[in-house]
Symmetry: none
Subunit: 219 residues, 2 copies
DNA sequence: CCAATAATTTAGACTAGCCTAAATTGTGCC
DNA sequence: GGCACAATTTAGGCTAGTCTAAATTATTGG
């Protein structure tokens, strides 16, 4: 249906609209490791196919059709990442590039069967939501760790800015996405949080800047 | 490492060398649904990369390097087919095209983990052997057709006495070496076998004397 | 308001991979 | 041997996707 390059551009635009609210030519080029002029060419092509609205000199947005296609790609990417971690035993930070290839494999029945095989997961190993087949995102009630109640049991579900560095830091401390812990103490120093938590019988601590999203975890 | 098209050509050449002992330009073109002139271009390119030996006007063979690459592709293809059937519940005749895409995903760790996850299978759902990581094929247990179980899917792998006449007879009936079929009925008349089988949607029959070697073909 | 600058688009060129048509080569038969 | 025919290669052209360099547009500070 669409070429690899077309799909990559659509996903990049979608990602930028999510992250920054706008998708400029140079930012798309940067994400895809190409040049702005190449992006312009592709924007014209995708606009011609009705996937993208291109406002020359003012960036691109997605049409309904383009958004649907982007969500389908996100769905495939996140399902494959879930498969790679849950079934093949990869670590969550090893799977991105392979999933980047797998998401371009084109087969509706494949992705629906994979989804079922994985038990219709709602979030991927990075804590990101997996769109359903119609592009609907699952809802999640999250609380910034900076506002979470000390002494209560929580579960880490995502990091707001998706920082791999922070995730790795926490991972090294035994706190991963999906992991439950008890928030033991929290101190704020202008924009930075000093956290102490209890998990798996140990007391651990770290200094973090980003917003950790958690859910209160009953029992 | 190699482009999709390069990989497709290498696999086609390997397949023809297996099936026919020779890989001619027009046969490669036919397998890949392209034209002979396109194949010639690619043969030159692959010869330049040291994967193929191209004897102009006399077809192509694979170098050691090319053979290794072909076996790696066959391995990936058959492991993915096994996954699709064994884990995702596809029927064995629905998986070829998807596996054709998946085999081009490039990641050593992925394929080794997939292999382990599937329990290091030695044959794929079509009964074809899966090369190991070093390109070695598993040995296959063969069964005389006079002792093969009626109703099961089999694959003709050899004729014990190598009779040309028999091969020609079977060939005319659409049953060649390497061909899978379902053994529908078998009657013995002093040393001679009356066989009926189903292959490619047709019921066929023949009277044969030689020992046909087959393998049971898990469905 | 306009000149400097940054972002973007346009123009023109290149490669990979494919095609058709024409030229070439190999083969088999008289 | 040489001719007919099939297979193959060569020649030349096309498209998708990329690039660099030049031209254009938007923005912003003085």
């Amino acid at each position: 249906m669409f070429s690899r390059s077309e799909e990559d551009h659509i996903k990049a635009i979608h990602g930028l609209l999510q992250d920054a609210g706008q998708a400029f030519t140079k930012d798309i080029a940067e994400r895809l490791n190409t040049r702005a002029s190449s992006v312009t060419d592709m924007l014209k092509k995708l606009a011609g196919k009705g996937l993208v609205k291109h406002a020359p000199y003012h960036g691109a947005t997605l049409t309904l059709k383009g958004r649907r296609q982007a969500l389908s790609l996100v769905r495939k990417h996140r399902l494959w990442e879930t498969f790679l971690v849950q079934r093949l035993g990869f670590a969550w930070d090893e799977v991105h590039e392979v999933a980047e290839q797998l998401e371009h494999v084109s087969s509706e029945p494949l992705i629906e069967r994979l989804d079922a095989y994985l038990g219709h997961p709602r979030f991927d190993p990075h804590g990101d939501p997996i769109p359903d087949r119609d592009g609907r995102m699952p809802e999640r009630v999250t609380v910034h760790l900076s506002e979470a109640q000390v002494g209560l049991r929580h579960r880490l579900v995502a990091v707001k800015d998706g920082s791999d560095a922070l995730l790795r830091l926490l991972d090294a401390k035994g706190l991963a996405i999906g992991r439950a812990f008890i928030l033991a103490a929290r101190q704020e120093f202008d924009g930075s949080l000093q956290l102490t938590w209890r998990s798996g019988g140990c007391d651990l601590s770290a200094q973090v800047a980003a917003h950790l999203l958690t859910v209160p975890d009953p029992a």
